[in-house]
Symmetry: D2
Subunit: 320 residues, 4 copies
């Protein structure tokens, strides 16, 4: 085991840089050379690679984004794409490859693992927190805090104007961010793709709040629940209250990672290098039962991560 490769893939997440730093410095302390492939799978296919050293990863711990750049590469998961990547790994004598990304990236990594002798280990970094096998992904805590900070600000206006606000947060398929952000911001209603709620129910909640003296309400909705613009119009019509929509956009992906996202980056990075050094490939690193563990790569690709619906009920009680 001499050479370690690193790649960031898929949507960026705060803490990717902290992860690159951790991997590089831990691997270096174990006598490994480290190489970064640029722009996700693109860099593997086209052999865009540069050495990473303890000094070259200095100063990036607190930076959002990824110094290795990232991209979505639809061509990668073809025979040809995997073949090219496999050849790059071989010609560069990469013994282990650490893939920093989300569930999409891990599906690619899994396919690649069947085409190469290089050991592949994944590190979950995604604001969506939708990776099976880990309670938390790097960047999730940062995104939740970014969302809550924004929602707190919007509440100032909601209260001052007696208005209803629908705040759309990221999450095309899953509601982890909406649920955590909604509870932490005290949202009166939380809408997630996993649970259908009838419009009539939402309207009823708002009317009940109004009767209790809560003239403003915050509805936090994951983007995957459907057309929030229409929803806003609908609720406005049925409640008679002003309803405004605010879509929290790409800022949720950026910013300096929180302490927790950085800490996870350090611990996950360390564990991934350890896994490679132990000859354990086709794994991802995760936080499970409060411990840093590894789990099977293929398993994480196949199983959908469960969401704690009990928290949704609690959220409802807490916003009374």
């Amino acid at each position: 085991m001499k050479k370690l490769g690193v790649v960031t893939s898929g949507g960026d997440a705060p803490g990717m840089n902290a992860t690159i730093r951790a991997i590089t410095r831990v691997a270096h302390s174990k006598g490994l050379e480290v190489f970064g492939f640029e722009r996700g799978w693109e860099g593997l296919m086209k052999a865009r690679v540069r050495p990473l050293t303890p000094r070259s990863v200095g100063g990036i711990l607190g930076q959002g984004g990824t110094i290795l750049y990232t991209a979505r590469s639809p061509n990668f998961e073809t025979e040809g794409g995997l073949e090219m990547a496999s050849r790059t790994l071989k010609s560069n004598e990469i013994d282990g490859l650490i893939v920093i990304g989300g569930d999409g990236s891990f599906r690619g990594a899994n396919k690649l693992s069947f085409k190469t002798d290089t050991l592949i280990v994944g590190i979950p970094a995604s604001i969506d927190n939708d990776v099976f096998g880990t309670d938390e992904t790097i960047g999730f805590d940062t995104a939740v805090n970014t969302a809550v900070t924004e929602i707190d600000k919007i509440r100032d206006t909601a209260i001052s104007h007696d208005r209803i606000f629908i705040i759309e947060v990221m999450g095309k398929k899953r509601g982890f961010l909406a649920l955590a952000g909604g509870i932490a911001a005290g949202a009166e209603v939380i809408l997630i793709p996993e649970v259908k709620i009838r419009k009539q129910k939402i309207v009823q909640t708002i009317k009940e709040n109004d009767a209790k003296g809560k003239k403003s309400s915050i509805i936090v909705a994951a983007e995957g629940i459907g057309d929030t613009r229409n929803l806003a119009k609908n609720i406005e019509k049925q409640t008679g209250s002003e309803v405004r929509l605010s879509v929290l956009g790409y800022a949720q992906r950026g910013g300096s990672p929180t302490a927790r996202s950085r800490l996870l980056a350090c611990l996950f990075g360390n564990k991934a290098v350890e896994s490679v050094l132990n000859g354990q490939g086709s794994r991802i690193v995760g936080l499970k039962h409060g411990k840093i563990v590894t789990i099977d790569l293929e398993e994480t690709c196949k199983i959908a991560k469960p969401l704690d619906l009990g928290q949704l009920e609690l959220a409802h009680i807490l916003a009374t």
Copy 2:
């Protein structure tokens, strides 16, 4: 001069509460009683009023929104509306009324001033900074910082993905926020309602940046420039680069006011009380040539505030 009324009107702005606190405490120190009218002109028309004391305005200095609530009241600027407001002022023996709001609120205040003996003084509080006679409105500095913080975060993703981002900030008619935010965030292109820029020019700038090695660009656009969604599609087609749109929404109105917005709130509040005590009504307070002054209320309603186009040129040079 014994009784002073206060009202917040129009869109809320960070620092309105700090202004209410300043007015109340300064007025109290001069022996005045202070009364707050709730929900903008609505409160004046319907005589919804409550006393404000140095203690009751404690703890609000750093809070966004307005404890007096605010609203837009289309009925106010009718004969009947002004009449009702005038009667409320008379029956409550309000000698002076301080109106905290933006240019729309001042137009209403101006009309009211012809129907009442109560002295009326305006304090400009608006994230739009579009009030003639003052270099800065309360809340503007906060909104600019909120926008810049968001844009800084989005730049992380822009760079990591080699993407173009259009970031839409508030400003239906004026570009003060877009211009200041764009310069402070180092936007490659700034689009404001005051200056038409041809799409071809934007595309050219992006291509030049690309040639220079700047693979990502940030375009900051005031909402008043037109359909940003369409613009994004257009630029994507013509540059071949990925273009994403992020609309910075209502969070720009909220949040704890910055030190500068709070300081302006204190100084403006103090000056407004002084103006009323000196018997000078039909004025607004402002920052002019670095000093706190008052100017004619009618004048501020009639003249459009000029925007420094030199800064737009400078922005272009700075983003090279």
Copy 3:
């Protein structure tokens, strides 16, 4: 089970208010009346009590500090003090008492539990994270982020001036905050009360960094490690570099709680009410193996919480 008491005790922590809100609203939804005792044990001894309702705890979710006030009460742990508190509980017919605080508060709670029939349940809220039985206390995550934000700022100056900085964070007896904050901020040296490090070793690390091209270094030290002022002078003498000391003070206790501190507050509050309703007293709530659990109150008072020294080693590797 009809009446529930709540008290915040010891040093304040961000998220105490979120906890009060969660307890009140969950308890109310189960048909309980809730009463808050003011100023810690003082309020129990002197029967300073006020009702808490879903509406009266509105708007406090994101506020630092505690609306119930808190204090240290040396008299409480005497026979007389416990007797007075016990009588207050009886005369107010309090069936269950939830104590929000740190390890000191739990020792008092434990003593009280032998003098009363009221069921007592503790909720760990402390920036020190030093409560046995829970992986994390409410407020810890906020304090770590506050510290990291400050350290990030100081690093700007450290780098610009080629200076060594010692940054003292809170933690009289334990190093949880220093350790987590130090790793997350990339500190070159972390000093905690649990592990003695010789000055010579620190000097050596700094000299090695200097040789590697790192002209500035950050030393994060828990306040419990001894006289940091002296340490600064010593290191300055031995390295010849400028050394500055910055003591991060009480700001570490305040501020709006992070999303995670708020979420813990909600989950812990909910669990504590559940425990009381199940007739289980003399427990504290905690996060263990990723789950919300309760553990024995007496046990938490007797056992010192272990600190993961492996993280200290990792920190050293990460800062190379």
Copy 4:
């Protein structure tokens, strides 16, 4: 006019990097080459210089500190030091030198201006705001906001514990930061070097507050007012209340500059280049009466900047 030099000197301030970027890009657009001297006057004396290009100053707009490093150089203001610097300017054919720093740096710059043909222009960047001729220095707004954010947090604890806090902010000789921060944070007492206040007066204010129901008070003190530790003990003894001291340290110098500090950096940088191109040396750039102007370098060194004592009175009224 072909070659422009830039140097940052004295204590660092947020926005120095934004200034370097502005100078470099504006100068480049006018056909000038730009060179940065490293570590303040040290770099001029020892000819440590590197080229600055529009690309090499990319990405620094929002970064605290200075990429050119800074230092205090006692040797500079000797005959020998000035001679060395003058020779460096000559041998590098530097036509104009822009000095970014505070009043100490300008005194050095003024002395140097008599020993060289290079045109020298100063840009005030200092968290102290103590430069005559400009209403505001780059970095001041950021430092005030940093201080206010911290004080807001400490107030949470102050209120929860009914405590008095003395918060020491930077300012060895001048009270600009303490005054602005104190007003914006609603400090009950503000202590600055320019105005002696008797301890008895402070104690009286605290007692009056207590009588009014304000059980906690915040005293903001500039470091130059004397021994705050002693003051804390004294007030504790005389009021019988708990008094805590918190020294806001070096974090006040760092952090990402606010929008306003960045904007000033852009405008000042632009004006400084313009001044050099117009052949006007021995000037500093400033904000005066709301406009960007230049004033005489020697004048700024000789005259102490006045502080608006009316604001101190207002602060007292506002904190009632």
